[in-house]
């Protein structure tokens, strides 16, 4: 491990050193190539825009079922802090739409499958009017299963595909193996499924693959899902101040870090660092226009600075060893006070709190506001309006498709409806209890009511944790504060398929990022990798995107 400066490098100093290194490896950042490439001819490549897109998208009819306790602002979700008794819940699916099809659905699951015949699944089947045979796969290795299943000749009736699994040839599989839902949903046709009609248009746009509406979306908030958490209770007790610059963060780590008493300052913070330094998002939103030229996230100084800063946390010994080895569950490490800061999906706020408060009623965690590394306003790129979709097998007959849509219409019911209560909390008495407005999941509820139905389709984003209203408030307010700094990336909201010849182009970056922050490789290795990336196709990819940008024009920015 190379010795590192005790403090996070300042932007200027870092730039100076990186220029030297860039010159040394002979790569540097040459001016961009201009012409050539092109978006290619295959209909599986590129994106769909303009009138063609408009004709595909379903009409939008917002739901009027329930008024939220905390309204949405700046791209945040809406919040619900209370739970209505079952008798007062609205009804969004008055008539059972399912016609009794037996459906096989493959979906990720982070947990243990409750197994067939459990009362929760049975109740859902009865309420929707279908019979679902779930093929749940471990969410952590879902992509590997997905690739194999889609390459086989027995594809389930419906398959959930998260956006982060769109690597390799998966987009080609989506175009070739899944049904066009346009004939069922485009325009006013969606009104047969009122809860689907209430899904925001942006979320549907991301479900358009290879010029057809194929994906049933799970809409997402515009604010980032990755959230830097801290132990608010311990911070208060010890008098730690929430940092507002990367230097303060580093100094705070130094203050907190006490391996002797099994306390480390943080977990891996690379994802947060990307926001602290204003790094562009992931593919396909990883471009920005500088003087009319496209620059990729990998080519930016911000990207290297974020890695260098994350690396400084590791080399100073602030990162919990289990995070370095990537073993164990960081939420547990954080909850037990062995690491006082970590970043994770914002849903961890509730997940950790609900478990911890069972025996530690004073447990409190908070989310720190994103800051620019030097203390200014952060640059936060807006998240895609949906990033998980459910697709229907192209060989499914009409009845099967309609029954999947019936199921989706049920699972997309908004908060405060009878349907959502059953989907998210199971049966009253068996899976949850409701006393004095406090909704609590029973042990059976925790073991059986898993979020697999969420992935078939969901309503516009909301956060409802009536058992811990302070968490709802915390989440929504955090999102609204971050939302004030949102910036749309180039191509925002589009579903873009890169040509297959580029599929392996980005494969090495994630491993290298991990190597660099953990001190096994140098930042200059990344610069070498970027210059390899350019010659191996990155420059062609840039041309391809430039052409796309010229074609899509205004709607892209």
């Amino acid at each position: 491990m190379t010795p590192n400066s005790p403090s996070a490098p300042s932007r200027r100093r870092f730039l100076a050193s990186s220029v030297v290194v860039a010159a040394a490896v002979g790569g540097g950042m040459p001016l961009l190539a201009a012409c050539g490439g092109g978006s290619g001819g295959s209909k599986n490549e590129g994106t769909t825009t303009g009138k063609k897109l408009k004709d595909l998208l379903p009409a939008y009819v917002p739901s009027k079922a329930v008024t939220p306790d905390i309204p949405g602002k700046n791209g945040s979700a809406v919040g619900f802090t209370t739970a209505l008794p079952a008798s007062e819940l609205a009804v969004s699916v008055p008539k059972k739409l399912g016609k009794g099809s037996e459906l096989t659905i493959m979906a990720p699951l982070w947990g243990t499958s409750p197994g067939e015949g459990n009362p929760y699944w049975t109740a859902m089947d009865e309420a929707v009017g279908v019979k679902v045979k779930w093929q749940n796969q471990d969410g952590n290795v879902y992509g590997q299963k997905l690739g194999a299943v889609l390459a086989s000749s027995s594809i389930p009736d419906a398959v959930v595909v998260p956006g982060w699994e769109l690597g390799g040839k998966i987009p080609s599989a989506i175009a070739n193996k899944f049904a066009d839902l346009g004939p069922y949903l485009s325009g006013d046709k969606v009104k047969a499924y009122p809860n689907l009609a209430a899904i925001p248009t942006g979320a549907w746009q991301r479900g358009v693959f290879a010029e057809k509406l194929r994906g049933l979306p799970m809409p997402a908030e515009a604010t980032p899902n990755i959230t830097p958490f801290y132990r608010a209770d311990i911070f208060e007790e010890k008098g730690y101040e929430v940092p507002t610059t990367t230097q303060e963060f580093y100094d705070l780590c130094k203050e907190i870090n006490a391996p002797k008493s099994k306390v480390w300052a943080c977990s891996d913070m690379t994802w947060s660092a990307f926001v602290f330094f204003g790094v562009l998002p992931e593919k396909p939103y990883y471009w920005k226009l500088v003087d009319d030229k496209l620059v990729n996230r990998y080519e930016t100084d911000e990207y290297l600075e974020a890695l260098e800063w994350s690396r400084s946390l590791y080399s100073a010994g602030f990162v919990h060893p289990d995070a370095k080895a990537e073993t164990g569950d960081m939420r547990t490490t954080f909850s037990s006070g062995n690491a006082l800061m970590y970043n994770a999906d914002i849903s961890d706020w509730y997940a950790a709190t609900a478990i911890q408060r069972l025996d530690k009623p004073d447990f409190r965690m908070g989310a720190m506001d994103f800051f620019a590394h030097d203390g200014g306003d952060p640059v936060i790129y807006e998240a895609a309006p949906s990033n998980i979709w459910c697709f229907v097998n192209k060989d499914a007959d009409k009845k099967t498709v309609e029954d999947i849509l019936a199921l989706a219409n049920y699972t997309a019911a908004p908060y405060g409806t009878k349907e959502q209560r059953l989907k998210a909390y199971g049966l009253e008495g068996t899976h949850h209890t409701l006393k004095d407005g406090v909704l609590t999941k029973t042990e059976k509820g925790n073991n059986q009511v898993f979020a697999t139905y969420e992935y078939v389709a969901t309503s516009a984003p909301f956060r409802a944790y009536p058992d811990h209203p302070d968490v709802v408030k915390g989440v929504i307010e955090w999102q609204q504060r971050q939302g004030a700094h949102l910036r749309k990336p180039l191509f925002h909201g589009m579903q873009i398929q890169e040509p297959t010849r580029f599929t392996e182009l980005n494969a090495q970056f994630e491993d290298l990022e991990k190597d660099i922050v953990r001190g096994r490789k140098k930042v200059s290795d990344m610069q070498q990798q970027v210059s390899d990336w350019k010659t191996k196709g990155g420059d062609k990819l840039r041309d391809w995107y430039k052409k796309l940008l010229d074609e899509t024009g205004e709607s892209a920015s």
Binding site: G167, P259, R518
Partner: protein, 338 residues
Amino acid sequence: MSLSTEDRRAREPRTPPVETRAAGGAPVATKVPLRHRLRRDRTLLLMTLPAMLLLLVFAYVPLAGNVVAFQDYDPYIADNAFQAIAQSPWVGFEWFQQMVNDRLFWSALRNTLAIFLLQLTLFFPVPILLALFINSFVRPRVRAVAQAVLYLPHFFSWVLVVTVFQQMFGGAGLIAQTLREHGHEGFDLMTDPGLFKFLITFEMIWKDAGWGVIVFLAALAAVSPDLYEASAMDGANRWRRMWHITLPALRPVVALLLVLQVGNALTVGFEQILLQRTAVGPGASEVLDTYVWNVGITNGGFSYAAAVGIVKGVFGLLLVLGANKVAHLMGEQGVYKK
């Protein structure tokens, strides 16, 4: 298992084998027609049938899938694998050329061979030594317990083994924490790329050395106690008995296992390494099997992964043949005889 000519004649009196006479009419080595051999050995053949079927379905038929290594294979362009293979364009040896220029492939190969050599020198002798130890020094009553304790880790999954090692030797593990409590520097064995190859060999010894003892103990049990008694009467001490009786008894088994081990030189573990990949990075941990997995399954580069797989398979075959030859030269049976 061959029968003498008399036996054969006695069994098959009416059908003298045609091949028994060469052109000149002189009797040469006899060959029984297939039909007869089938009838003669039908019980044995029936017994091997299930294993043959398994081998056929899960090993030989999939071999045909190797054609994708010569294609730009996209499994998603058609409804099933056969159509997809039919429709994918042919690219000749392009993937193999790419492999030659792929530094990640060479790095994976280097790691694989380094781990193999470590396993051969550090892991392979351990079960033999343990078997000798148990056989010679452990009292029968303690023996069952000792064996059970040694076998047990074999039944743990790699996830569990890695977790146990992380809890013991990780940066927040028991040993590092104890050191810190006594005012020393902690350490982290689990994330040190330089130690990784030793670490996984150590994990392997802990998990599987006890299990490997079984076959050697079986070989030792086959040695007649008379030999020991006789040599003891002749005045051989314990060491001489081990040198002249026990070790020669183990020799064929050791040779056989060594040949098999060399044949598997490029298969040095998969799950164990995949689980610890991030902890030390691909530079130290990527082996051919994890490389194939990452390129093929994770990134969808089926054709390239298949090409790497073929190279690995061919190399493994050559190693088995070579090692077997060496075993023959040393006077051992090896895996098979010509």
